[in-house]
């Protein structure tokens, strides 16, 4: 792809060499986007543009993939991203009630970030521990069999971190 009129973004050496290595292999796009999200926590537009140049792939195609998979984010998440499972088991056990409560506690909606940049709420598909439903995940830490009145304490714990 030819030049695009936007500011450039620096990729770490590791990310750049990863992309270089996978550049011409089939099915590389999802893997590369995973790495990009790993580096930035989301996929900034100028990162998507840079990937488009490096892979010689239309930017539109990249956005097609990013928006197809729930996993990829286009907005920068909060410092502590609260992932609420809404897979079948968690959904039935009240996952959505947890989201509603979090929205009230934090004053934000799903896929938005608190003004201080500390928290964001994300609804995710099954994270694979249905026995613990309903489940939330913060910074990789799992909280299972949750009741909504446990949430203030959990939030307080991460606020102080």
């Amino acid at each position: 792809m030819a030049e695009v009129n936007t500011s450039t973004i620096e990729f770490s050496k590791e990310l750049s060499s990863f992309i270089e290595k996978w550049k011409n292999k089939q099915g590389n796009l999802v893997m590369i986007l995973h790495k990009v999200q790993g580096e930035f926590g989301y996929i900034p537009r100028n990162a998507a543009i840079k990937v488009s140049h490096m892979l010689d792939t239309p930017l539109a195609k990249i956005y097609g993939v990013i928006t197809f998979y729930n996993f990829f984010k286009l907005e920068k998440p909060g410092e502590h991203n609260i992932q609420v499972c809404t897979g079948t088991a968690c959904y039935l056990k009240g996952g959505v009630d947890l989201i509603d409560e979090l929205e009230i506690l934090l004053g934000i909606g799903v896929n938005t970030v608190t003004d201080d940049g500390l928290f964001s709420i994300e609804s995710v598909r099954c994270i694979g521990c249905c026995g613990l439903a309903p489940v939330i995940l913060i910074d990789g830490e799992v909280f299972g069999k949750l009741e909504k009145d446990q949430l203030p304490e959990i939030i307080a714990k991460f606020r102080d971190k």
Partner: protein, 582 residues
């Protein structure tokens, strides 16, 4: 090709192996309803309306995307299938605003036709319409995602036929929408305004920007002299909007209709096509004779020019500096003609009837479009808008008596008219360049080497002993092949592979432009192309340099091709543009 025997509703028929059920049924005159399918595109199987049964199988298949197999009996219609199709249709309509009366596709909508055929009277489902804003950012087309039925045609056209990738399927499932990369506007994307998305959309989700009222306002304004030109391709397609066959030549009726609509002067873009050939042909000869940069590439198609500036701007030095015929006609109207009839350029309002949505963009694309001192072209209406204007003005198009264009910038040669088809600009240029190079007249003006519908055509023309190598591409997806040959030769320091390259953005050329009447398929393209060549053949003058009005304008005004005045008025420049501005 291997033939197989199948049955359609129990009736044995023979079809070529590889034929889909949909096409096989058509051979037996059985029409299976479709919504997402389009002859120009690979089947996408998005809508589900074409489901059929295979006798002996519990599975239903989509007729558009399933190959017919030897010995099978396909059931295309029965009460159960009709009920299923009705349900699919009802669910589609539940997601589609029922705003038919105010829709740009009222009476030309494929969903409306299906709803009419199926006698849909109410929708048993909860109405669920996407709430997304209309995108009116380009001067050419409007994208209304609320009306989208997610058939995917626009996006597939944009990617597979045009290689532009302005549109993509964003989101998934219920949230899927056709949009540019990442919530930006079409005008911030690489969109080249060719309008093929609008020509392929089955409903009113992408349509041309309607400017018919601007025309009426101009006519109403007594202080304005309204001067109208019509493009080559319009004359062989407009008739379709009035029930005529594709390819019917209605030039004389168009001139008559324009006068009835209030145009003060009626001209023909074909005249300016002849003028373009004089300039572009001379530029080519100059490049050939004086060691200029070759190949020269045509520049009349604004969607192609936009594409080149965004995707292939290393080709800028190869681009002919000649403006498009429309722009030449505009500037000649506001200078040469305005002066002749003693009208100030500012009091002249120029209108072009075009087969093209990109032409709406072209008229303000850069400062060179103000060469007369005023905006050279004030308004562009597509063939579709023009048809509506005629209908709403109470003109009975069929019974109009043929009229002639005005003089002195309305007469045209056969070379001018073939600008409307792929290969036509090349052929017209060869007819004149031959004379300029050899000082002899070409005996057979029919250059078959450059005609046809292959996406890329390469050939050579014998210029009295000198071989002139040419290439033609149409449909943007085919252009890279030729450009890469040029790039490779350049890198290796070899002779350029061609002297002259013609590119048109739309498949078939302007006759299948994004602003033409709906329903364009290769069959329709062939009929319109035949109409254009008939118009050429019945022309007394078939070479641009023999058009008496062209000879006159050089004598009276422009002096000679590539003169100082020509350069000022008829030539332009190009620049690199970013694919994305956001």
């Amino acid at each position: 090709m291997k033939t197989i025997e199948i049955k359609i509703n129990g009736k044995p028929i023979q079809v070529e192996k590889g034929t889909t059920i949909l096409k096989a049924a058509l051979i037996d005159n059985v029409k299976i309803p479709t919504l997402c399918f389009h002859d120009d595109l690979d089947p996408w199987a998005a809508c589900g309306i074409c489901v059929c049964k295979i006798e002996g199988s519990p599975k239903m298949v989509r007729a558009c995307a399933t190959e017919a197999m030897e010995g099978q009996n396909y059931i295309t219609h029965d009460p159960e299938l009709m009920e299923i199709r009705r349900t699919v249709l009802e669910m589609t309509i539940a997601n589609h605003p029922m705003e038919c009366l105010t829709c740009g596709r009222n009476t030309t909508c494929e969903l409306q036709d299906l709803a009419a055929d199926f006698g849909i009277r109410e929708i048993p489902y909860h109405e669920d319409i996407t709430e997304l804003d209309r995108d009116e950012s380009t001067p050419s087309i409007i994208l209304d995602p609320r009306k989208c039925v997610n058939c995917g045609r626009c996006t597939i056209v944009c990617q597979q036929l045009q290689n532009v990738w302005a549109l993509e399927f964003l989101g998934r499932g219920h949230e899927t929408r056709m949009a540019p990369a990442g919530g930006i506007l079409l005008n911030e994307s690489p969109c080249i305004k060719c309008g093929q998305c609008s020509a392929h959309c089955p409903v009113g989700a992408i349509y041309e920007k309607d400017e018919t009222r601007e025309f009426l306002d101009a006519v109403k304004d007594e202080s304005k002299h309204v001067s109208v030109q019509i493009a080559p391709a319009v004359r062989v397609a407009l008739g379709e909007s009035f029930g005529m066959k594709p390819g019917s030549i209605v030039t004389g009726k168009i001139y008559a209709a324009l006068r009835k609509l209030g145009a003060d002067s009626v001209f023909d873009t074909n005249f300016a096509a002849d003028l373009t050939i004089m300039e572009e042909g001379s530029e080519l000869v100059d490049r050939i004779k004086n060691g200029g940069l070759l190949p020269q590439i045509t520049s009349c198609c604004p969607a192609w020019t936009d594409y080149m500036e965004k995707y292939a701007n290393d080709m800028i030095p190869h681009f002919s500096t000649a403006k498009s015929p429309m722009m030449m006609q505009g500037v000649m109207s506001k200078t040469y003609y305005a002066d002749k009839i003693k009208v100030a350029p500012k009091d002249m309002y120029t209108v072009a009837i075009m087969p093209c949505t990109a032409k709406k963009y072209e008229i303000t694309r850069d400062d060179n479009m103000w060469a007369s001192g005023e905006q050279d072209m004030d308004l562009v209406l597509t063939t579709r808008e023009f048809a509506r204007l005629i209908k709403s003005s109470g003109i009975d198009f069929d019974t109009l008596e043929d009229e002639k264009a005005d003089s002195p910038i309305g007469d045209y040669s056969g070379a001018g008219t073939i600008f409307g088809v792929t290969g036509g600009v090349m052929e017209a240029a060869v007819r004149t360049a031959y004379k300029l190079v050899t000082d002899k007249e070409l005996e057979d003006v029919n250059i078959h080497a450059v005609r046809g519908m292959d996406g890329v055509r390469k050939g050579s023309v014998d210029f009295d002993g000198t071989e002139i190598k040419v290439a033609v591409a149409h449909g943007m997806v085919h252009v890279e092949e030729i450009l890469n040959e040029v790039r490779v030769a350049k890198e290796k320091g070899e002779e350029p592979p061609y002297h002259f390259i013609e590119v048109m953005a739309c498949r078939g050329g302007c006759i299948a432009g994004g602003g033409q009447p709906y329903g364009t398929t290769d069959e329709v393209r062939a009929q319109r192309i035949a109409g254009i060549y008939t118009d050429d053949e019945k022309s007394v003058v078939r070479k641009s340099h023999e058009n008496p009005e062209i000879i006159q304008i050089y004598k009276d005004f422009l002096e000679k091709p590539m003169s100082h005045k020509s350069h000022e008025l008829l030539h332009t420049t190009y620049k690199k543009r970013p694919q994305y501005t956001k």
